[in-house]
């Protein structure tokens, strides 16, 4: 079985609003490098500054080598690899169901979404039907993950620009999201709740009222953030008109997610190439036209509101599914129920086989993408028919977003550098993998 990735090169992109700037600002053939202009290159005034890998505002261990002319950024090189963990290689050494544990640790802010992409890829190769309840619960968890990711982004990005109190607000509400994860999966982060075929466990009884309380509370919390930032003159001064990225440049650089939508491209995989049950829920895709740091902030805040709406709709559906199965009934792939192990010899054998040897996945290759909190998170998997993946490759949206850094740095000052790098929302775990 071969499923070729769909080609999107010929697509016409829905662009909103007037062009942000004329022409292209991509500085070089290698878009991550901003060369010092020739007329400045021989001056003694150019000051190379090393920024990172341990710097409080690099969102992890990013290292930038910046050339400064006074306060102006004239040259930029990104050095990555400080968090290279060898995920893809390591996953080849693990059986399919053990490998599910790895993707969440890449993008540790939107962990459920990474897990989802890999699990969907396995299911596509196995041609496995997933019960409706599992699909809706997955969708709910993905949206909670998106809220979690945007909360941490907002807290840390605002902290870097000087709004310290936002960090405390956002981490207060992040704990509320993590409480829901803990209720369901037993752990705050990296729950590994998604299983090939459905969910690892049924949804616990207390989850629905807790989640409803959260849905009532969260929009008010978002109002609080907006009251602090959206019309705050200092915030506007630091973010508006900074880090411009036009729609054409964003597309040329392969951007996706909030960065793309802030540049006026109306593109969201959840709506345009629906997976899970996104075609059955009602939500708006926020798009802004100015392509600056401020608009990226607006897109993310609006997305949090929409995510809360999706969570509510998922809860309405799940309410009616009490007692329905949460995992596919395929004993070759899915672990048998715990209680059967004591009574059924066959179940015990299946359990033993899956745990020790793992299940086999038919030969083939597959590309699955989901709309992660940072954009298109793709998972390309090749199976040779054995119990372990033959090759796993991830398309990390953070890595692509990082490539836009040099383009956004047009006439930027060194203080803007922090705001711009923050606004692209790169997670180094995902960049380096």
């Amino acid at each position: 079985m071969t499923i070729a990735p769909e080609r999107r090169a010929t697509r016409t992109w829905p662009i909103v609003g007037p062009p942000i700037y004329e022409g292209s600002r991509i500085p070089a053939n290698i878009p991550t490098i901003l060369e010092v202009p020739r007329e400045l290159a021989n001056l003694d005034d150019i000051l190379p500054v090393n920024f990172g890998p341990n710097h409080p505002s690099t969102h992890g261990v990013l290292r930038l080598v910046v050339d400064l002319d006074g306060e102006r950024v004239v040259g930029l090189r990104a050095v990555i690899g400080y968090l290279h963990t060898g995920f893809e290689k390591n996953m080849e050494q693990k059986t399919w169901w053990k490998a599910i544990t790895y993707p969440p640790r890449m993008d540790y802010l939107a962990f459920q979404l990474n897990e989802l992409a890999f699990v969907l890829a396995i299911e596509k190769l196995l041609a496995l039907e997933v019960p409706e309840k599992a699909t809706w619960m997955r969708q709910l968890m993905s949206e909670l993950s998106r809220i979690h990711s945007h909360l941490i982004w907002l807290g840390t990005a605002a902290l870097e620009i000087g709004a310290i109190s936002l960090l405390f607000y956002c981490f207060r509400d992040r704990d509320a999201v993590l409480d829901l994860f803990e209720l369901v999966g037993g752990q705050r982060m990296h729950t590994r709740y998604f299983q090939a075929g459905g969910l690892a466990e049924d949804i616990p009884d207390g989850f629905y009222p807790e989640a409803r309380t959260f849905c009532e509370y969260m929009p008010k919390a978002i109002d609080e953030y907006e009251a602090l930032l959206t019309r705050n003159p200092i915030w506007l001064e630091r973010t508006q008109g900074i880090g411009l990225l036009s729609a054409d440049d964003a597309i040329a650089l392969g951007q996706s997610g909030p960065v793309l939508r802030a540049s006026g491209v109306d593109w969201d995989l959840r709506r345009d190439e629906p997976y899970l049950a996104y075609d059955q829920v009602d939500f708006r895709v926020p798009v802004y036209e100015n392509g600056d740091v401020y608009d990226r902030y607006r897109v993310r805040v609006d997305e949090m509101r929409e995510s809360v709406r999706i969570v509510e709709q998922c809860l309405n559906r799940l309410d009616r599914m009490n007692g329905k199965p949460w995992i596919a009934d395929d004993r070759k792939v899915v672990l048998p129920p715990r209680e059967e192990l004591h009574t059924s010899m066959e179940s015990l054998i299946h359990h033993f086989k899956i745990v020790t040897e793992g299940y086999r996945v038919p030969e083939g290759e597959v590309y699955v993408c989901v709309e992660s909190a940072r954009g298109e998170f793709g998972c390309y998997v090749v199976s040779d028919g054995g119990p372990k993946p033959w090759r796993v490759k991830f398309r990390a949206p953070s890595f692509v977003a990082l490539e836009a850094t040099a383009t956004c740095m047009h006439e930027a000052l060194v203080a803007d550098l922090i705001a711009i790098v923050g606004s692209l929302d790169t997670v180094m775990g995902e960049v380096d993998r």
Binding site: P53, G60, V61, G86, T156, R172, D175, R188, H190
Partner: protein, 164 residues
């Protein structure tokens, strides 16, 4: 009456004890986030866990102002040299917490790039297990470290060298 009780009633103490008490009440951590665990490390500053109760909310961006290095996450070989450099820049006395499975032992990443335990390059005082540890677990590690300091146990670099 034991020596401890006498100290308590009369309000006398030794200089070493007074210093150890002061060290535990303002042990400033270095702001050094690596990966997943860094999120839980930031969470202890947040309102629910509130590390300010221990006088530790001042995360220092410069290692020269920090007393405690929390290695929060997996250390790639490429990161090992900067990590050791940060540790060397810290002034003595200094302590190290290896937070999470990856920093303690390499965790689930037994491969070509991840350092199999940060104790190979810096002497570690406290190991906090799990992946990632809950903020409560990290705070338990911090309290254990405080207890050790108050009991007069010297920092790890005085007791053992790093594994080679």
């Amino acid at each position: 009456m034991s020596a401890d009780e006498l100290e308590q009633y009369l309000g006398i103490t030794t200089l070493m004890r007074a210093v150890a008490w002061a060290q535990t009440k303002s042990m400033w951590p270095d702001q050094f986030g690596l990966s997943c665990c860094a999120m839980e490390m930031i969470a202890i500053v947040g309102p629910r866990y509130d590390i300010a109760r221990f006088g530790m909310e001042a995360f220092r961006a410069s290692p020269r102002q920090a007393d405690l290095l929390i290695v929060s996450g997996r250390v790639a070989h490429k990161m090992a040299a900067p990590l050791r450099q940060i540790y060397d820049q810290m002034l003595e006395p200094k302590w190290v917490i290896a937070m999470g499975a990856c920093a303690s032992s390499g965790g689930m990443f037994n491969n070509y790039t991840v350092l199999q335990g940060v104790d190979k390059i810096v002497p570690v005082d406290v190991y906090v297990p799990f992946c990632p540890p809950r903020p409560e677990a990290l705070m338990e590690g911090i309290i254990r470290l405080h207890e050790a300091v108050q009991a007069g146990i010297p920092p790890a670099y005085e007791r053992r060298a790093v594994a080679t």
